[in-house]
């Protein structure tokens, strides 16, 4: 009896102690705790950098959570709803308009202006910095960048009688026709996977199409510039220069490239490492990269990559800015490139020897000086998917270019209907008064 009572009392005491003894995670002997979320391979590479930061800033403890890309978007949005966002996060730059629309991001203009020594606006590629600006406000600082350039087989091109990579659309078509004659039978010179939106969007941007109207409330696909770009894209399939295949139907692109069944491919910097690893040794010097050809001269590409953002609800914004500035340091950016292969966002980081000596990355450096942002609307990913689906229908010959353009305009206007309605709401006098009072 007595032993049972003692046991009961001990258990109760232990339970109470564990409930009240839980220290709050924030206060650890005066240190501020910074919660950082990063994704994919970059998330895993951030650990050592965070330790370096802690050594340089003993009053801040950094807790990095590495999240796989497949779960990143959902995790961020559910954290927003549950008010559990971190202090600092990596954000793909196509996601910035979405989170800016949610009001989740802290505007960074003031912080950048005050600390221009660590984060000078002028040192970033202008096209890349523009992807972080929504409604004239800067919401993120670019961390690493990527863009698309042309990868091609130099030996096959030489065999076809062409000495330099194409710089205009008509040169591209000429080169592709010549390549087709020296390739194995049934091969296609250029690979443009039909389930990717990057290629039709790049051609449209190159030809000067803005894709959406200036305020992002309607599609701009009936414009002749978009129509000409789509016609050029569809023409490549129509004339047998590109295979009408999606990524899943292609199999192994590296094998196809090595066998010469694909001679040109528009893709990003991650494939530089992949090509070096996977192509056979004898083809090591037989491929190169080149900036994309445009309608009349060297063409633009779009700017991808990730930025670092600070969440508006964070209570440690000063420490968050210090961490952001730490990541923006050019030497650290260069070292980050060596660990992950991600291209630095700062121009001064490109003068590091590893990047200067790399032949294949020279094309990227040149292209990054000619990038334009995609429309900064939250619905962009859905619109891009529609563009890819419509371009696929036209490329497979199931719809004429005119019909495709008309149906795309209808679909995108439908998607943006809510955005149009919200814009009218903001113009009503009652709402304007409420906004002024806030």
């Amino acid at each position: 009896m007595a032993r049972d009572t003692l046991l009961t009392r001990l258990c109760a005491a232990a339970t109470l102690a564990s409930i009240f003894g839980c220290a709050r995670a924030d206060a650890h002997g005066g240190q501020t705790e910074l919660r950082v979320w990063a994704f994919g391979a970059e998330g895993e590479a951030l650990g050592p950098i965070a330790s370096d930061f802690e050594r340089a800033n003993p009053d801040v403890r950094v807790r990095v959570q590495a999240i796989p890309w497949t779960a990143a978007h959902e995790k961020l949005l559910t954290a927003y709803v549950g008010d559990a966002l971190p202090d600092v996060a990596q954000l793909g730059n196509t996601w910035i308009p979405e989170f800016a629309a949610l009001g989740a991001l802290e505007p960074l203009d003031m912080l950048v202006a005050r600390d221009s020594a660590s984060v000078p606006r002028g040192d970033y590629f202008p096209g890349v910095l523009a992807t972080n600006v929504v409604g004239g406000v800067l919401y993120g600082v670019p961390w690493y960048v990527d863009t698309r350039v042309l990868f091609y087989r130099t030996d096959l091109l030489r065999k076809a009688g062409v000495t330099r990579p194409p710089t205009t659309w008509s040169e591209l078509r000429d080169d592709l026709s010549k390549l087709k004659r020296v390739q194995p039978a049934g091969a296609f010179p250029i690979l443009l996977p039909l389930d990717e939106w990057a290629q039709p969007v790049i051609f449209a941007l190159q030809n000067g199409s803005l894709l959406l109207t200036a305020d992002g409330t309607r599609g701009d696909f009936l414009d002749p510039r978009f129509r000409r770009a789509l016609d050029f894209y569809v023409g490549l399939f129509r004339d047998g220069l590109a295979p009408p295949l999606a990524n899943t139907q292609i199999g192994n692109v590296y094998q196809e490239f090595a066998a010469g069944r694909v001679a040109m491919y528009i893709t990003g910097p991650w494939n530089v490492g992949e090509f070096r690893r996977r192509l056979p040794v004898e083809l090591r010097r037989s491929w190169a990269t080149a900036p994309l050809p445009g309608p009349d001269s060297a063409g633009v590409s779009f700017a991808g990559g990730s930025s670092i953002v600070i969440m508006r609800r964070s209570t440690n914004k000063a420490a968050a800015w210090r961490f952001l500035a730490f990541l923006a340091d050019p030497t650290r950016q260069a070292r980050f490139y060596e660990t992950t292969g991600d291209l630095p966002a700062r121009r001064s980081a490109w003068s590091t020897p590893a990047l200067v000596r790399d032949r294949e990355l020279a094309a990227f450096r040149e292209q990054l000086g000619r990038v334009v942002p995609t429309p900064a609307v939250p619905e962009w990913e859905l619109i891009a998917t529609r563009i890819a689906q419509t371009a696929e229908r036209a490329a497979r010959g199931r719809q004429s270019v005119d019909d495709a353009v008309a149906s795309l305009q209808r679909d995108v206007d439908d998607i943006l209907e809510k955005r149009r309605w919200l814009a009218t709401q903001r113009r009503t006098p009652a709402r304007a008064d409420a906004d002024a009072r806030r």
């Binding site: 978007h73 959902e74 949005l77 927003y80 709803v81 979405e98 629309a101 949610l102 009001g103 999606a246 899943t248 139907q249 939250p378 990913e381 859905l382 809510k418 955005r419 309605w421 919200l422 709401q425």
Partner: protein
Amino acid sequence: MTTAVKPTRSRWRRWRIAPGWWFVAPALVLIVVFFIGPVIAAVGLSLTDYDLYALADPRAARWVGLHNYARMLHEPLFWRSLRNTLYFALVGGPLTVAVSLGAALLVNARAVRRKGVARAVFFAPFVTTLVAVAIVWRYLYHQQYGLLNWLLGHVGIHPIDWLGDPRWAMPAIIVMATWKNFGYNMLICIAGLQSIPRELYEAAALDGATAWQRFRHITIPMLGPTLFFVVIVTMIGYLQLFTEPYVMTQGGPLRATTSLALFMYEEGFRWWRLGSAAAIAFLLFMLIVLFTVVQRRLSPRAAA
């Protein structure tokens, strides 16, 4: 001196709640708060155009009535998902039930010793975590290094890209789902089989019935209610197919394995059109109710 009957006593009796309700109350509260409440909220959500803008500012949600439902019925991807889901349920469902029944008969056979071990082995796939299962099955289905193509190679069949070919992706998912889920139904069938009196089989054997005749005329009719339960539960589960395509193929290739639940998930959590996703959820609910009603009509005796 007689005490007058207290009027409060009869008033008390009128308001008295039966004790049973008090016992059930905690569970009922949980069900109402975490199930019925959200379902009603979801119905309301499906009648609005709640999306990313409304997440930021609730005033941006508009009442749209049945517009979401109408839009879904005009969306080609909705019909594709519906077709895929029906393909999976109508092929995978009977297959799973047949395999469960077969396994139950195997385990229950008199010749089998160590029934407990056999049951545990067959039940193990059901309790294994799906992500681990998916990783192993992705290797099994690999076009070049997979065990399945290696075995088929011995019979002279060319390597098939199980998860990359739109024609074979859904059959691949069906086989994996059957392997994973047959254990649960098997246990229920075993319980049903064990409730059939042995004397019936002995009498039939004495009368000269073959094993197949015994199966057809004794086992199946006696198992009626059990089979009815198993089929309904399996169909309800299979019409909500989500995790297998999510981990194995992400709805591809070329949308061959996008189920209704996966389409709903994409609509709600990828495009943030939560009103639209709630509408899909209710359309799926109505489909499941329809299926259940049809199955009840087809087996009146069993349902009784």
